[in-house]
């Protein structure tokens, strides 16, 4: 027995020893929330965080442009992930444009900043350093207001894809995973109203212009433009299906007219800022090659720094380092009118013989045509030419991309150029205004505003250097709609609009599920070619694809609280 007592005593003493604080990890400095709050530069870094979740334009899906999933273009490589859209190989399990998680992260970063900034007063600086105090308070407030815009932007990106989504208005407490799992999708109209109120707060407080060091930040005009675009989408066919009874997928009441009027009003608010703050640029092609300069037509841009990845992806294979990438389709090229305002037609032999002469000037500025000069030489898109089939990786459609592509970069020397992607520009606002006004009042009725729908479109067509003939008076609303949609298609080509426009107009199945055409070019002599349009591919599309599927793992994690979109 005494053996056990001895052992027991020593055991006890041993345990005492273990309590000695031997394991004491040295914790290196890691920034806690408190430290961020007190440090102005850390707060500034915290404000940048949600911006990094904004769409950056250019190649949004892998190496390809979103345009290659619409009837604007075809991606040259069969193996790029964007081709999954075109062959119908995407669903709730695998979606190349799955931005659900990314946008909610952006929303949380914006909420994180807002909640932290709400508790900051900078009082300790008030007496010790009044100038620094004023500066800090001013900037903190400006950043807080930016967060309203950013939240609205992220929700807009979500609803245009999915319909109604859960509205997360503040940082979720992640400790209660089961309560998070029971969050349901808000109705579409609730989401739209939320975006509009967020924009309204931002509109009230954001500055109208910015200094050079702040280029890229959010201004009042950006918030107005976001509100306008949101209300335009909210009034569109996709979210106003007749007989719709599911509020998550769109409106269930019949007040469509009201929505068009509201949209027109919101667009007008942006147009009223012209010509003081905004004005149409007098050079269409230069608008997409601004470098780092600020331009009066640009309302909100995403600056990308000095890169050349985009050129490397889209220069013709005939250039050293070029990889062709986006091949504009014959479908898009055919949409450009003749210089006199009439439509182009292949059955007109004169037009078919020389299809690029006397066309809307925007055609040559958007697409690289056969025998055009690009990057210092003529582009040989004919069969056997330096840039044409059957070269491996030459354009499948007979065109290369020109808009947004900076010429004169030597890719082998890794030359770069500053790029900026235009999220909102004034021309879009004119076209949106025209669309809303047409639906609300018709083409020639200006109602209480100063501009009719027709006048708005004609302002865009009358841009210096473009000078396309004006739309005539006396068109019916249907005729106007058709021509306006075509105008929107060519003016905003390759700006990530077409892909969404055809969905919201309800013509997704015929456009995105139709044939994509290209042109085969044969050389007769140095100045004469023959052009034969041909079928490149037939796309696969189903009307359920008008709305994206909610990612399946999110539906499972929500234990069914998130209802999946119909058809998926």
């Amino acid at each position: 027995m005494k053996y056990f007592k001895n052992i027991g005593a020593v055991l006890l003493l041993g345990i005492l020893f273990t309590a000695c604080n031997f394991i004491n990890p040295e914790e290196f400095t890691l920034r806690s929330a408190d430290q961020v709050k007190r440090n102005f530069s850390s707060l500034g870094s915290l404000r940048v965080a949600p911006f990094s979740y904004l769409p950056t334009g250019y190649n949004t899906i892998g190496n390809s442009w979103l345009a290659s999933a619409s009837d604007e273009a075809e991606e040259v490589l069969v193996t790029e992930s964007i081709q999954n859209f075109n062959i119908g190989n995407w669903n709730q399990y695998s979606n190349p444009d799955n931005v659900w998680a990314k946008n909610y992260m952006g929303i949380r970063k914006a909420n994180d900043f807002s909640q932290m900034a709400d508790t900051i007063t900078w009082y300790e600086w008030k007496l010790s350093n009044p100038t620094a105090y004023n500066d800090r308070v001013f900037r903190t407030n400006m950043w807080k207001n930016e967060m309203f815009f950013l939240r609205g932007f992220f929700y807009f990106e979500l609803i245009k894809r999915y319909g109604g989504v859960p509205l997360i208005k503040e940082k979720l407490n992640m400790a209660r995973l089961d309560s998070i799992a029971s969050i349901k999708r808000n109705s579409f109209s609730e989401c739209v109203e939320y975006i509009v109120t967020q924009c309204d707060t931002a509109i009230k407080n954001l500055p109208v212009t910015q200094v050079a060091a702040d280029y890229g930040s959010v201004t009042k005009g950006a918030a107005l433009a976001l509100k306008a675009r949101t209300l335009l989408y909210a009034a569109s066919d996709l979210f106003n299906k007749s007989g719709n009874s599911n509020p998550v997928l769109g409106y269930t009441d019949g007040n469509r007219q009201q929505r068009w009027i509201r949209a027109a009003e919101a667009c007008k608010a942006v147009l009223d800022m012209a010509p003081a703050t905004y004005a149409l640029n007098n050079n269409y092609s230069a608008l997409f090659l601004l470098g780092s300069a600020l331009n009066k037509e640009v309302i909100f841009e995403c600056r990308r720094g000095a890169i050349n990845s985009f050129e490397a992806a889209n220069y013709s294979i005939g250039f050293n380092g070029g990889r062709t990438g986006t091949c504009p389709s014959q479908n898009l090229v055919d949409a450009y009118e003749m210089k006199d305002g009439t439509a182009f037609s292949w059955s007109n032999p004169a037009q078919a013989a020389d299809p690029y002469v006397n066309r809307d000037p925007r055609l040559a500025m958007t697409v690289v045509l056969n025998n055009a000069t690009f990057n210092g030489r003529k582009i040989e898109l004919w069969e056997g030419g330096k840039d044409g089939l059957p070269l491996d990786r030459a354009s499948k459609t007979g065109y290369y991309l020109s808009k947004y592509v900076v010429q004169n970069l030597d890719l082998t020397k890794s030359q770069t150029s500053y790029h900026q992607w235009l999220n909102f520009r004034l021309a879009e606002m004119y076209l949106s205004y025209a669309e809303a006004m047409n639906e609300a009042y018709g083409p020639d009725n200006k109602s209480i505003y100063t501009l009719t729908a027709r006048e708005a479109v004609n302002l865009v067509r009358a841009r210096t250097g473009i000078a396309m003939p004006a739309f005539p008076l006396g068109m019916t609303a249907d005729q106007f709609r058709t021509r306006l949609r075509n105008e929107r298609r060519v003016e905003l080509a390759f700006e990530d609009h077409r892909y969404w426009d055809v969905r919201r107009w309800g013509i997704g199945s015929s456009v995105l599920g139709g044939d994509i055409r290209g042109v085969k070019i044969a050389m007769v002599d140095a100045t004469h070619f023959t052009y034969s349009p041909y079928l490149v591919e037939t796309r696969t599309y189903n009307s359920k694809m008008d709305l994206y599927p909610i990612p399946e793992d999110e539906v499972v994690k929500s234990k069914g609280s998130l209802a999946q979109n119909p058809g998926w």
């Binding site: 055991l11 020893f17 990890p25 069969v78 190989n89 695998s94 949380r108 060091a213 600056r303």
Partner: protein, 941 residues
């Protein structure tokens, strides 16, 4: 508050130091106890023969296997780890590379038990954690593998993957005995894939272009010229043959002295080793070599000093200096280049002076290895262990106290002298001079530039143990032993928070009548990676044994000399989960965005994944039932069945955390896995007057299963996609059903979503019958490269002065994935070559008998992806080592004043039998494993 804590800490430290001198059992004791408790299942002749015919350590109730240094030495090549193939049941040794300095193998004890972080066991050298491969083989006294919870009790929170214990030699009473061991050998690489020569390559390349619908590139005259093979104009270079030699020398020497008297006993040794790599043409430059060479020198001194009859002290010192020389290019890039660089580009564009190359392939392997400079890595380690043991019999009879201290310092310096070189394409022949016309150069010729790629690194481990042992007899037929062992260690690496371990174990052993044995123990371990309150955990274990051979009904049995049944169960854990300090919320760097007109973006900070304050040990519940026996005096047989359930494996929470939160959560302990298996071991050892023989056979079967790993759900109908319920490491892929024979075949089959398919491409099964073949048709295929069972066989015999020993090892139930070596098995991938393995690719002509998909020059993600077509069975049996030695007769030896002179020849990896014969089935990629022929001498005097 802070001051009070300091005061309390000081008080506890004083109490602790006081305790230390009473001590609590230390790892050294623990290790001695382990050796004392272990049953040797050994292929060495001297163990089984003992006077009472009982195996040594018959009292042990836990699962330990041991092998002595003598056996290890006979099977060793140049790295101690490589000597353990097939010797210990339950220990799987996996060869990774044959590169000098990097040939240390990977270990698994009883297979894979977890899918988190690593399955590598804890390795202790003389009681403290250290790398096995920096110890000299000649210094090893024995290596033990501790397998079940009871054996691992003392290492509680570090032992979930099992423990390997290495003990070094110590002195013995007697006059000084000097031992000299010298060995020199030649190593040659095993497994060399062959590639088509330029002419055949060009023909096949044209065929591939045709199947892509592209025009041919090589003309008939070009192909004909390749057959004649002008080294500059139409080269046909076999890069492997050119740059890899078939033999590289290696030398090893060791000098040791052991002896002592009643006061001091010593073991001292000095060793030297030099191994050369197999790259060729590496001595082209003055003053340096671009070969892979490793040289090391080590010394050891182990002293046992008896100060008084009650106080024993030990001093151990070990040092090693390693110098490695390697080319600047990485091993992987060198072997990929040797396999993929075209044979149609000459080595030299101008006879022996300017390198050949093209714009796509500017760096040819000759230049890659030999013309880019060299790296020099210098490593130094120093270990110093001191221990004191005091016999407290004057206080309490049977009580012993001790303390051990260990200092382990490792320092490494990595420096490189690098340069670049120019290469040229031969564009034609100058008709006037007959000299080749060269293109503009690719790259630039530069001089050697010094760089320090990873700087200097120092790591220091400080160990401290204290122990208390108590042994007593109760009555005449009962024995009781108890131990209390305290351990702490700190590992300091530059730039990181130090690593701490602390543990306290108590074990009680009870023996009744030498028939019934019980052991109970409890370990309390802690680690710094976790949050306060989760740092420490209890790890209990209990085991029992019943020695049937001491029972009355078996006591005088002539056949069964010893029979023991044992069982154990318990819990051990581990804390090296790959996650430290995840219990704190903090902000970390996020994405960036451009503001203003400048070209540098502004960075941001974002919340890091939200903390998990509850992360704690991964736990392993082990159970075992075993049987050990000695039959007919010379045959020992043992069998064991084991089962382990691993819980608290770290898994991601991405399958439960909704993205609506916008932020991730840190990983949690939630995964579970289990494994089970059987070990069998048989040893026969017979000695006669002039001759003798021994056989040691061991066989292990291992099975594992993932029980829960938090994976994301898959659509209904594709449940085979789940990794849960499958073995750990199970490979996944598509099921191959044949080649597409025609366009109609493609139209009428389910649509494959991996890219454009043409006739000749691979067709896969649509397992979920949804009309498409995509990632949801991927299911488990084949086996991983980790074997399902392993067999080891040691055979030896001696006759008069001759002796022979061989070790065979077989790994069964494993597959290899050809896609892990794409340049050999996936022809033309990334502009590579075509190996001779590629036979009968599909063409329209041979569509009925095709064995390989059609050749293609563009990327083909449809064919070159994981499917059962690319998994091949790769069971193998290897003769790991065979040694024939001859002892000079003692009269001859004594004439030259030597006690023993033995010459031997030893071969390593001489014979391999496998159902995959194209390459070495064990190390398919990178620097090949080596076979070697060695000649050596053992002298003792």
């Amino acid at each position: 508050m802070k001051q009070r804590n300091t005061y309390m800490r000081q008080l506890k430290v004083k109490a602790g130091i006081f305790l230390l001198f009473f001590g609590t059992a230390c790892a050294a004791f623990g290790q001695n106890a382990a050796n004392a408790k272990g049953t040797k299942e050994v292929a060495d002749s001297s163990s089984v023969k003992s006077a009472s015919n009982l195996p040594v350590n018959w009292e042990n109730t836990s699962s330990i296997s041991t092998v002595t240094g003598k056996t290890i030495y006979k099977g060793s090549s140049y790295s101690p780890g490589n000597a353990l193939y097939g010797l210990l049941p339950g220990l799987t040794v996996i060869q990774r590379s044959g590169e000098p300095g990097l040939e240390d193998p990977d270990f698994r004890i009883r297979g894979n038990g977890t899918f988190g972080n690593t399955n590598y066991p804890l390795v202790l050298v003389d009681g403290f954690e250290h790398d096995l491969n920096t110890i000299a083989v000649e210094d090893i006294e024995s290596i033990s593998v501790l397998k079940d919870a009871s054996a691992n009790l003392l290492y509680g929170g570090r032992a979930a993957n099992g423990v390997i214990v290495v003990t070094t030699k110590r002195g013995a009473l007697g006059k000084a005995k000097v031992s000299v061991n010298v060995m020199r050998g030649m190593q040659s690489p095993m497994g060399s894939p062959k590639f088509l020569g330029s002419a055949d390559y060009a023909t096949m390349y044209n065929q591939a272009l045709a199947s892509d619908g592209l025009p041919a590139v090589y003309t008939d005259t070009q192909i004909q010229d390749f057959r004649t093979g002008d080294p500059i104009y139409s080269p046909n270079v076999d890069w492997r043959k050119e740059l890899v030699r078939n033999n590289a020398p290696a030398t090893k020497a060791n000098f040791s002295v052991t002896g002592g008297n009643n006061v001091i006993q010593y073991y001292a040794s000095v060793g030297y080793q030099l191994i050369e790599g197999i790259y060729d043409h590496t001595a082209m430059h003055n003053g340096y070599s671009t070969n892979v060479n490793t040289g090391n020198i080590n010394f050891r001194s182990n002293l046992d000093i008896k100060f008084t009859s009650d106080l024993k002290v030990k001093f151990d010192m070990y040092g090693q200096i390693i110098d490695k020389n390697t080319p600047v290019a990485s091993t992987a890039s060198i072997w990929n280049a040797l396999n993929s660089y075209p044979s149609t580009i000459p080595i030299y564009a101008l006879k022996d002076s300017l390198f050949g190359g093209t714009s796509v392939f500017p760096i040819n392997p000759m230049g890659l290895i030999n013309e880019q400079g060299y790296r020099s890595i210098h490593e130094r380690s120093l270990i110093f262990n001191a221990s004191a043991e005091y016999n407290l019999r004057k206080l309490v009879k049977g009580l012993v106290a001790g303390v051990r201290f260990g200092y382990d310092n490792f320092y490494t310096v990595n420096s490189a002298w690098s340069k670049t070189f120019e290469s040229y394409t031969v564009t034609g022949k100058d008709p006037a001079t007959g000299e080749p016309l060269l293109s503009a150069p690719f790259g630039k010729n530069t001089d050697l530039v010094y760089s320090n790629p990873s700087g200097d690194n120092q790591s220091l481990r400080l160990n401290l143990d204290g122990y208390l042992n108590y042994n007593t007899a109760i009555g005449s037929d009962q024995k009781l032993a108890a131990q209390l062992i305290y351990h702490q260690d700190k590992l300091a690496l530059g730039g990181e928070s130090p690593y701490y371990n602390q543990s306290l174990s108590g074990v009680v052993n009870y023996n009744m009548k030498n028939r019934y044995l019980v052991e109970m123990g409890l370990n309390y371990s802690g680690n710094e990676a976790f949050n306060k309150g989760h740092r420490f955990a209890f790890f209990p274990a209990i085991s029992a044994g019943w020695i049937l051979s001491n029972e009355s009904f078996l006591k005088d049995n002539s056949v069964i000399n010893f029979l023991k049944l044992r069982a154990s169960t318990g819990t051990v854990g581990r804390s090296n989960l790959g996650y430290r300090f995840i219990y704190r919320d903090y902000y970390t760097g996020g994405g960036s965005y451009f503001f203003g007109t400048g070209t540098s973006a502004t960075g941001s900070i974002i919340e890091n994944s939200l903390a998990n304050p509850n992360l704690t040990f991964e736990k392993s519940n082990k159970s075992e039932i075993g049987l050990e026996s000695v039959l007919w005096k010379n045959i020992s047989f043992s069998a064991a069945w084991f089962y382990e359930k691993r819980t608290n494996i770290v898994i991601s929470q991405s399958n439960v955390v909704s993205s609506l939160g916008g932020v991730g959560l840190q990983n949690v302990n939630g995964g579970e896995a289990e494994k089970s298996g059987i070990e069998l071991s048989l040893n026969i050892d017979k000695a006669f007057k002039d001759w003798g023989y021994f056989v040691g056979l061991n066989y292990t079967v291992m099975k594992s299963k993932v029980l829960y790993n938090g994976e994301l759900p898959v659509p209904t109908g594709s449940e085979y996609n789940y990794t849960t319920g499958q073995p750990i490491g199970q490979p996944y892929g598509l099921e191959f059903v044949g080649f597409f024979q025609s366009d109609q075949d493609i139209q009428s089959s389910p649509k494959q979503q991996f890219g454009l398919v043409k006739p000749g491409d691979m067709k896969y099964r649509d397992k979920n019958n949804d009309g498409t073949v995509d990632d949801y048709d991927v299911g488990p295929i084949g086996h991983s490269t980790f074997p399902q069972s392993e067999l080891g066989l040691v055979l030896g015999a001696n006759y008069k002065g001759f002796d022979i020993q061989g070790v065979l090892q077989a790994q069964l139930g494993r597959d290899i994935y050809l896609g892990s070596n794409p340049y050999v098995y996936w022809p033309l991938i990334n502009n590579g070559r075509i190996s001779t393995y590629v036979d009968q690719s599909w063409t329209d002509a041979n569509k009925a008998t095709a064995k390989y998909p059609r050749l293609t020059t563009v990327s083909n993600p449809n064919n070159y992806r994981s499917s059962d077509f690319w998994f091949k069975k790769a069971d193998f049996l290897r003769l790991r080592s065979v040694e024939i030695g001859y002892n000079l007769p003692s009269q001859v030896a004594s004439r030259i004043k030597l006690d023993k002179v033995r010459v031997f020849v030893r071969g390593m990896n001489l014979v391999t039998m496998s159902n995959f014969t194209y390459e070495d089935p064990e190390t398919m990629v990178g620097y090949p494993a080596m076979k070697s022929y060695n000649l050596g001498l053992n002298v003792q005097f």
